[in-house]
Symmetry: C2
Subunit: 399 residues, 2 copies
């Protein structure tokens, strides 16, 4: 007998969210900044330095005392040259200027930079004609004007992209504390399954669920740490489950949870307190969950489309949130044509969304794996809909 | 003297698109399906098999001759059982049914499946009461009803996601021909640069451009195959350039292209026919390109924000397209407050977009690397704008 007779999609989603809550709160780990793209900061990162590190020039030109060029044009002697390179230029002697490159240290005493295009040769060797005055601070980047020591450079919970890594590097930081990725084990079951690349005999099918779930887990920002395929063999499934729970924060299974015979997942998990039942959706009606050795196990039906859509509906949103990834894109679209639906079940139809209207691209069958590949979105038909008409507005999920 | 005096952003973008066109047309390579997520198919993949591979049951129930249950209720003897597993059940004997599981081979002679919920025990052992009739083909998945041998399973140019890999696996396919990723070399220059994690002396700064460009190249779907940092030393730069052009389809450099002295990139590339000049944008005015040993070299100015935005403007869109990734998200937003701009230059301001209005989050300076990290978008101020007012609509790029 099923543990739950009939759950709504929301009820089952809430149940799974509760079951997974603790597993998704992974500990932190410290990794090199150069490897941290796509990871989420575990805590705020304070800047260990002022940026800029030192007062420097915004332009190629001449570092000056603003007061000495206030009556420009004026000719002044060039006391030296400051490139953008390791160099402490000392103080600017009164009545002189120094040539300076962008990024060069502005010498003590100087308080403005005159860009090179506002200057010309002064006539005498080692002199320059300053053609226009510049106010105090012009073209000078003050130390700490980007960020000051101790200020938050990157807040906690930020999904790190190149610009964040650049800021960390600019502050001299080489490692960053991020949330560990969620570790997921994928166990596919079914006596009829054989590995792609082998020669099936009549009655066997290629296992696509292992490939599908592994790729979908990665795309949701988690790590696949175990991947096993087992026949409808209780001992083999128990061994795979033990391997999975030992290594993973979360175990996903496909197959073996219907009410028929040879349902190895159901038969193994029910005595361990697993909950098996039916959710008001199509595809994907049979669903189950368990906690084994404290590790949540989420079980999907074995039909390939059912497995993939169940993951999308129940687990992908949780993994994406844990990984700091944006939520799935949901749109409202007009139906291109009429369609009929099964009352009492939410239908997830494989569809093409052209940005204005949406239409199904394959039948509703849970075996239509090529049809799913041809879709770019899911068209959601609500539980209470029996007939929908062209122009009716439906919810569409981008795939 | 500059090779080009003043290009518009579009002119320089077009120039780079032309320069890179051939480099972005990479050859194909064959890789395992399980590693192919995020890659782009090089050619259409035909299905080597019919899917389903064989006629099978859509439900747990009984395989029947539809004509024999047309007058249901009717009691029939159960001749056997067909699980979803390797089994060729032979033909269905007239006047009998076989128990069948979802996915099981529908035996020759049977032309419908009656779901188990429409049946009950027949009274006598090994008999079943078929409670309702089913038409020919009901609950039977025909061989090839998803896809037929030779039909296109995945078209060319598809960015492979989990559902595509699942379809390939379901057809027994283990390898797929995809476009090789574009190989990019990153060479950062500047005598003032030191590696993050070291102790800079006064005048030195941490190199953030290597980190930024490497991460941005990866995010744009290309591979970083060389990463070098060189001082303003012609011989070292020539060596790095030789390493880069030997390994990469495209070389990116930062720094060394201004009109000042110590401009190692400009001084090395100009004699080789490189084009160096100014583009009407801020940040990122100085820009350069070259082709060295037939490999395109795109050179960005060295200020960290200039480097990062130049990549976003000129190279990221090309790499993303080559990798089959969607184009950057561009929106129209109302300005939250007034702002002034430099006429004649397109400004790329670092901004926060709250979905309705947009506002700058840091100054326009090209050294404000922490300010860029704090932004979630770029606010584009057109060349002809001098003043913009609250409520004016501007273009915004999502970062």
């Amino acid at each position: 007998m099923p543990t739950f007779a009939r759950r709504s999609v929301e009820e089952h989603a809430d149940h799974i969210a509760g079951l997974l809550a603790r597993a998704l709160e992974t500990e932190t780990e410290t990794i090199p900044v150069d490897d941290a793209a796509g990871r989420v900061t575990a805590s705020p990162v304070g800047s260990p330095v002022d940026l800029p590190l030192f007062r420097n020039s915004q332009m190629d030109g001449f570092a000056v005392r603003a007061a000495e060029v206030a009556d420009a044009p004026v000719i002044l002697p060039i006391a030296g040259e400051i490139a953008a390179r390791a160099l402490d230029p000392g103080a600017l002697r009164p009545g002189t200027v120094v040539r300076i490159m962008t990024g060069g240290v502005v010498p003590e005493g100087a308080d403005a930079v005159v860009p090179v295009e506002d200057t010309s040769p002064g006539g005498e060797p080692d002199t320059v004609l300053i053609g226009r005055s510049r106010g105090v601070g012009e073209y000078v980047r003050d130390r700490g004007s980007d960020i000051r020591t101790g200020d938050v450079l990157i807040p906690a919970g930020v999904l790190l992209a190149s610009r964040h890594l650049a800021a960390l590097a600019a502050a001299g930081i080489t490692t960053v504390s991020v949330r560990r990725r969620v570790r997921v084990a994928v166990v596919t079951t079914g006596a009829e399954l054989v590995a792609p690349g082998t020669d099936p005999v009549r009655g066997q099918v290629f296992d696509s669920n292992g490939t599908a779930l592994a790729a979908a887990v990665s795309a949701a920002g988690a790590d696949v740490v175990v991947r096993e395929r087992v026949a409808d063999d209780h001992e083999a499934f128990r061994r795979a489950l033990a391997t999975a729970t030992a290594a993973a924060d979360l175990v996903l299974t496909s197959g073996g949870i219907s009410m028929g015979d040879y349902e190895v997942v159901r038969e193994t998990l029910e005595p361990l307190g697993g909950e098996v039942g039916s959710v008001a959706m199509q595809p994907g009606g049979p669903q189950a969950t368990a906690a084994v050795d404290g590790v949540p196990v989420v079980c999907f039906p074995g039909n390939p489309v059912s497995t993939q859509l169940s993951f999308e509906v129940f687990v992908a949103p949780l993994l994406r949130r844990a990984a700091g990834l944006p939520a799935r894109r949901v749109s409202a679209r007009a139906l291109e044509g009429d369609l009929r639906s099964v009352p009492g079940k939410r239908q997830f139809l494989r569809a093409h969304d052209d940005g204005a209207v949406v239409r199904p691209v394959s039948g509703p069958g849970s075996h239509l794996v090529a049809g799913l590949a041809a879709a770019d979105s899911l068209l959601i038909v609500p539980e209470d809909a029996v007939e929908l008409h062209a122009g009716d507005v439906v919810e569409v999920w981008a795939l």
